[in-house]
Symmetry: C2
Subunit: 386 residues, 2 copies
């Protein structure tokens, strides 16, 4: 069966045929596409006792249309990533009920009772006690299981081969890890930031440090990553009185440097802090980088005794985690910078009454994180900079 | 057509059928298998005007027999590596006339007029002016062309996926990069080295440094490597009055850290120097590490302006080459150590009247190269240690 684009009206029959929905007379479907890339439909029955989400990758970027073609194979990467995470951290992703490789469509848990973390933060709420810890644990569990510590050498080679993702990695290599530092038509910024954008493009030291982070991104096959772990890829809420955190949208997944996942999250954390500072709504923002790192490190060290390859000794673990930390700080910097003078900006800043002061502070912080990452050896050192 | 093991008598018909040999009444074939893994046949006609080599990978390790099975797919890796090198350094490998993937057999240039570099050195000859320079250039040309500097991001991802080599990488990960530092049945050594072997196994610092080099080997996808670049993988000689250097046997090829190729060569260079010192036949041995590095660096820098990705700036090149240097020094150390207290030893040392003094010197040098690689920042610093 070939690929077909699913429309709202197709969903009842589609879910029925694939064994996900018994009674197609009792189903309501609505399209809730929200991200840049894909279509999402929600299906539910009348009494709300059964509901599912269907996510389909289109052969182009959804918000741009067919003029920006993009292989729907990104859904394969997403399904593979969910499969890996389901083995080790099933509580931190939506339940996946099925993947239809012909149509690049995932049938998954309806998470419409939860909210996107970025939205929650933009509305002035705090993170709460669990969010960043769960995210740190998520990165540790996925990274450990898919590293040479958690997987046999042969399985790792197979994972590396099946997880290459040329098209989506190229987006990151370009949009995040080079364009903001050169003249490029994608780049745009607030007029009041023109001086800093020019300064960044002229900064030779900054360029070399970003080149290094970029080359590490391209060559360092440490573990399977989420690949796009910003606060828009996290859902939060409560179910039966308990906090729930779900990481989703791992379509940029590939085997790369672990620090890229942590760094992306930290960049979004630090930008949300600048927003809150501007609005006078600062609460627990300043503690999230530390909390997510502590949870990551604790979980990674907890898993360490289960490693499949005991040649790696405890002293090497210390050294490895220090390297992941340093990479994370650097990637946090690149993610901040690209979100202010690059292609795709953040609503955290763009919806501020005056986005300039917070954007300037964040940009300058981003540069310091990149350039001084080797000397910023602890969460406290990063705090001192903020 | 399925796989069949070629015997000497099969070669005339085999070469004829595959279009490599017209007149099967005028062909002499002899088996010249020499390495541990594969069979090699040489075919020539009566007047010596036409000759070819046939190399076939068996489904086991040749010297061990069927009790040590090993996938013949290693020949695919070898053919792929030759194909990549042929694009950029055809003068430094044997001419490849065809690859028969069904039978894992390469038909290639007869190099029986050349000699294996290790043999030449063991017989007391010098390197001559070109050998190490050609090898440095070989590594630079292959590495540059298959790095993110010489190949588009998408082509690189495809290369990484097709070049994974689980079985042969595992051999290196075990035999070179862990067994010598732990108790293992593979390990053996001269009785007079028992103290050093025990000391090495008890050396926590050494273990951690080797763990790091091992993890870099497993995760650093810098470029396609030869993967086994010792002096037994190099043929030297003269043709029409000009020196000839040919690198062969790249069956351990995979995408890894460039320093592993240079380091393997350097280890063999340093061990051959200890042999010559012992025999009083030292000539140009002490200059070969410097010459091969200089040729590598010069060639890499010569190719740099042709890079496909100009985001990488000159300052990053300096930093990258410094990293390759440091890795190379470390891998040189691991290769020396494993060749004296690990599984497979070197005739350079085993054929000495008294192999103990040279072996002790080499072992101690190997450890220093591993442990102090970050401070040994130049060929002169390594010389000072020798």
């Amino acid at each position: 069966m070939g690929y077909r684009i699913l429309e709202t009206d197709d969903i009842p029959a589609y879910l029925h045929e694939r064994g996900h929905w018994a009674d197609v007379t009792d189903i309501q479907v609505r399209e809730v596409s929200d991200g840049n890339m894909n279509r999402v439909f929600l299906a539910s029955n009348a009494d709300g006792s059964h509901s599912l989400a269907v996510k389909q990758a289109l052969p182009w970027v959804r918000v741009a249309g067919p003029s920006w073609p993009m292989s729907p194979e990104r859904a394969d990467a997403e399904a593979r990533a969910y499969e890996q995470v389901a083995r080790v951290a099933p509580d931190k992703i939506p339940a996946i009920h099925g993947y239809d490789a012909d149509n690049y469509a995932l049938v998954m848990e309806d998470m419409s009772d939860l909210e996107v973390l970025r939205t929650v933060l933009n509305e002035g709420a705090s993170y709460g006690p669990d969010t960043s810890a769960r995210i740190g644990e998520f990165v540790a569990q996925l990274a450990f299981a898919t590293s040479d510590f958690g997987m046999s050498s042969a399985d790792r080679k197979a994972l590396i081969a099946t997880s290459v993702s040329p098209e989506l990695c190229k987006i990151t290599e370009d949009v995040v890890l080079s364009e903001p530092y050169i003249e490029h038509e994608h780049n745009h910024w607030l007029p009041e930031l023109t001086d800093l954008a020019a300064e960044f493009r002229a900064d030779a030291r900054l360029r070399t440090e970003v080149a290094e982070l970029r080359h590490v991104f391209m060559t360092s096959a440490q573990a399977l990553l989420h690949g796009d772990l910003h606060t828009g890829s996290v859902m939060v809420g409560e179910r039966e009185g308990a906090p729930v955190v779900r990481v989703f949208d791992p379509e940029f997944s590939f085997v790369g440097p672990i620090g890229y996942d942590l760094g992306l999250y930290w960049a979004n954390v630090l930008v949300s802090e600048e927003r809150a500072r501007e609005l006078g709504t600062l609460s627990d923002h300043g503690d999230q980088l530390r909390l997510s790192w502590a949870a990551f490190e604790t979980e990674f060290r907890r898993l360490w005794p289960t490693r499949v390859d005991t040649f790696f000794d405890d002293a090497y673990l210390d050294r490895f985690l220090a390297r992941v930390w340093t990479d994370s700080v650097g990637y946090a910097g690149t993610e901040i910078v690209r979100r202010i003078i690059g292609f795709a900006h953040l609503t955290d800043l763009t919806t501020l009454p005056d986005p300039v002061p917070a954007s300037r502070r964040a940009l300058l912080l981003g540069r310091e994180l990149i350039v001084r990452r080797e000397e910023l050896t602890s969460p406290e050192a990063v705090r001192a900079l903020v």
